[in-house]
């Protein structure tokens, strides 16, 4: 995205290669740059602004594998006008993309430590690139565990990834759903309940958390109950965004701009704001 480096407000054209349905309201778009020179490089936890012709922008985290040369991948939940239009895009269609933006997950800094990934719903999408990076450098980390909560078994994302990850001996994967029919044999309940099931060295553990704000708050409580240090807990925050580079003011959260100071924050950076209403 070399062009947008000069003017961060100008999208570059990206062609849609595939539009794959994940669940009833979640889909994944694979795109590649129309012009050579527009890169697909990103760091885990970063996001792009996806523009669909005439409709507008949406901030979407990048959910593909940052360690491999491959199309840029975005997993999107249908929610508003832009994401509804994105859901209808067919292969060959062209989007405008600005990015990548934002502070990534501290995967490099976590080397030598145990790593916990805590995901709620679509929150797994920005965590997946972190997981790919951890697994590509498996020997650099201690124990790794993923705790993933979804509303129902039908809302679970990335089933083939999950199955593959669960098959590994060097990775613990715990999945829970809020509600399920009788044929569900897994855990039912909030994702935070899973955390104490895993084994990790609390004083030497980094936790990466992404999900609805309330889920992140309870996750932090649980992580702290398990004696993980505040400075080792990271959250990915979300707010209304227009520009993604700190000009428009929309994503302000206390002293922070979510777009450029985040979206990934160390817990103690946002600790004093998290429990407050209407910050």
């Amino acid at each position: 995205m070399s062009e947008s480096l000069a003017n961060p407000l100008l999208p570059a054209p990206y062609r849609v290669l595939r539009n794959k349905r994940n669940t009833h309201d979640v889909f994944t778009l694979d795109v590649e740059p129309v012009k050579r020179g527009n890169s697909t490089l990103f760091s885990p936890g970063q996001f792009n602004m996806l523009y669909i012709f005439g409709k507008g922008d949406a901030a979407i985290s990048i959910s593909g594998d940052p360690t491999k040369e491959q199309p840029l991948r975005h997993t999107i939940r249908r929610a508003g006008v832009v994401t509804q239009a994105l859901e209808q895009v067919k292969p060959g269609g062209v989007l405008g993309i600005r990015g990548p933006f934002g502070v990534p997950w501290p995967v490099k800094e976590a080397e030598g430590q145990d790593v916990l990934l805590v995901a709620g719903g679509i929150g797994l999408a920005p965590l997946r690139p972190a997981m790919y990076t951890l697994l590509a450098n498996r020997d650099k980390y201690g124990r790794i565990a993923l705790f993933y909560g979804a509303r129902t078994p039908e809302d679970l994302l990335y089933l083939s990834d999950l199955e593959q990850w669960r098959g590994r001996f060097d990775l613990q994967v715990c999945v829970s759903v809020d509600t399920a029919k009788r044929n569900w044999m897994g855990d039912v309940g909030v994702v935070t309940k899973l955390i104490s099931k895993a084994s990790f060295d609390p004083l030497n553990t980094v936790a990466l958390v992404c999900g609805p704000e309330i889920m992140m708050r309870f996750s932090v409580q649980e992580l702290k109950k398990n004696e993980i240090k505040s400075g080792n807990i990271f959250l990915s925050m979300e707010r209304n965004m227009k520009c993604a580079v700190g000009f428009c003011g929309h994503c302000q959260y206390g002293p922070h701009f979510i777009c450029k100071d985040g979206p990934v924050f160390r817990y103690d950076q946002v600790q004093s704001l998290l429990g407050k209403r209407e910050v």
């Binding site: 407000l9 100008l10 405008g96 580079v245 428009c248 003011g249 929309h250 450029k260």
Partner: protein, 390 residues
């Protein structure tokens, strides 16, 4: 005092110089600006106020006019002299030129995939004529917002780079002014190309002109002037010291960053919310407020789309809209966000206060909410809440 008409031998030296220009020679300054390719923007009468617009001559200035300001009050009044700058700041701020209220960012064509064309930035150079100290500070603050980070705003940059700043020292303060509290005036200290101080006494009418840049010196080379004889600095100090004493408002800024951070749940926010109309006037009039939104439009063919950016305000409901709701739904939270951002979070973000004490938010608030009063209400009650030593 105005005796000789000397040339400016070392016109390109940016070393600070001070000269005198007679009132009758001020049109030559306009001529020099035009000759150097500038269009001149400055204060003029319009919309029942003193607003900023293009000036086509000295006569477009609000000569002999002043204003009376109070909370929710603004009145034009005739002066009993012919002062060119005998008034305070009006409803407009210079941001309307440097960051236009509505502008196109790019256009897109849907045929053959997607072709996005960047909006060409205007190349016209503008001289901002009559920039008060508080407004100069506001421009320097917006510089940090739009030019000081990792990314640079191309719209602001294009306009700002070419802008010539001609400041004017305030010779009188208004009833809603508090630039002294914010360390933003009344004297323009730096950041200008030229700075004028208007002297009008005992039949004399002239300007002390401080030269702040090489470009300023170049402009002055074509303006009849005389060298000052040693008393100019004292004169400026005397005048601005008198202005400083006239401030209609005061804000105690001691520990203000933590004061507001620590009082997120103060009952005063409910009190101010019961008065605030969330009309956004304060943010539109504020010279540092920078928030914007974008609007994507298509034409009737459906093949041509455009993205427009326009000023936005943290007082609107939609400002924080996300699909699961509004982050700041109540008036209380929106007023708190604005004031806490302006006076506290701004330090974290840009290393400076976001307030320059121009008083516009007080004057143009339809219900006369006064930011200085809100701060002292919080400060006083928090002081009262502290245990006393006795």
């Amino acid at each position: 005092m105005i005796s000789k008409n000397e040339s400016f031998p070392d016109a390109l030296s940016a070393e600070k110089k001070v000269v005198f220009v007679a009132r009758k020679d001020l049109p030559a300054l306009f001529d020099s600006l035009w000759t150097n390719g500038f269009r001149i923007l400055g204060p003029t009468l319009g919309e029942g106020a003193i607003v900023y617009d293009e000036l086509n001559g000295i006569g477009d200035l609000p000569i002999g006019w002043t204003d009376e300001q109070e909370g929710a009050t603004y009145r034009l009044k005739k002066r009993d002299d012919e002062a060119l700058f005998g008034y305070n700041v009006g409803p407009h701020a210079w941001k309307k030129f440097l960051f236009p209220p509505k502008h196109r960012l790019w256009s897109a064509e849907a045929s053959n995939g997607l072709k996005i064309t960047e909006e060409k930035q205007a190349t016209q150079k503008y001289a901002l004529f009559g920039v008060k100290a508080c407004e100069l500070k506001a421009i320097l603050i917006q510089d940090k917002v739009f030019l000081g980070g990792e990314h640079v705003d191309p719209v602001y940059q294009a306009r700002r780079e070419d802008a010539l700043l001609i400041a004017v020292n305030c010779t009188q303060a208004g009833k809603t002014c508090f630039c002294v509290s914010m360390d933003a005036g009344p004297r323009a200290e730096s950041g200008f190309d030229l700075c004028l101080t208007e002297i009008l006494k005992e039949g004399e009418h002239y300007f002390i002109v401080e030269i702040g840049s090489a470009q300023g010196a170049e402009i002055m080379a074509n303006v009849p002037h005389s060298y000052e004889t040693g008393e100019a600095e004292k004169t400026i100090q005397t005048i601005t010291a008198k202005t400083a004493k006239q401030m209609g408002r005061v804000m105690d800024t001691e520990n203000i960053q933590s004061l507001l951070q620590d009082n997120f749940d103060h009952p005063r926010w409910d009190d101010v919310a019961s008065r605030c109309l969330t009309c956004a006037n304060c943010t539109m009039a504020c010279p540092t407020c920078f928030c914007s939104t974008v609007e994507d439009v298509t034409d009737i063919t459906g093949n041509h789309a455009e993205r427009w950016r326009q000023w936005d305000s943290c007082f609107t409901m939609d400002f924080t809209y996300m699909n699961h709701g509004h982050a700041r739904a109540s008036a209380k939270s929106r007023y708190r966000q604005w004031m806490t951002h302006k006076l506290s979070a701004w330090f974290d973000q840009f290393g400076t206060s976001g307030c320059v004490g121009c008083g516009r938010c007080i004057t143009w608030c339809p219900v006369a909410i006064d930011i200085t009063e809100e701060v002292s209400a919080i400060r006083e009650s928090q002081t009262a809440a502290k245990p006393t030593s006795s």
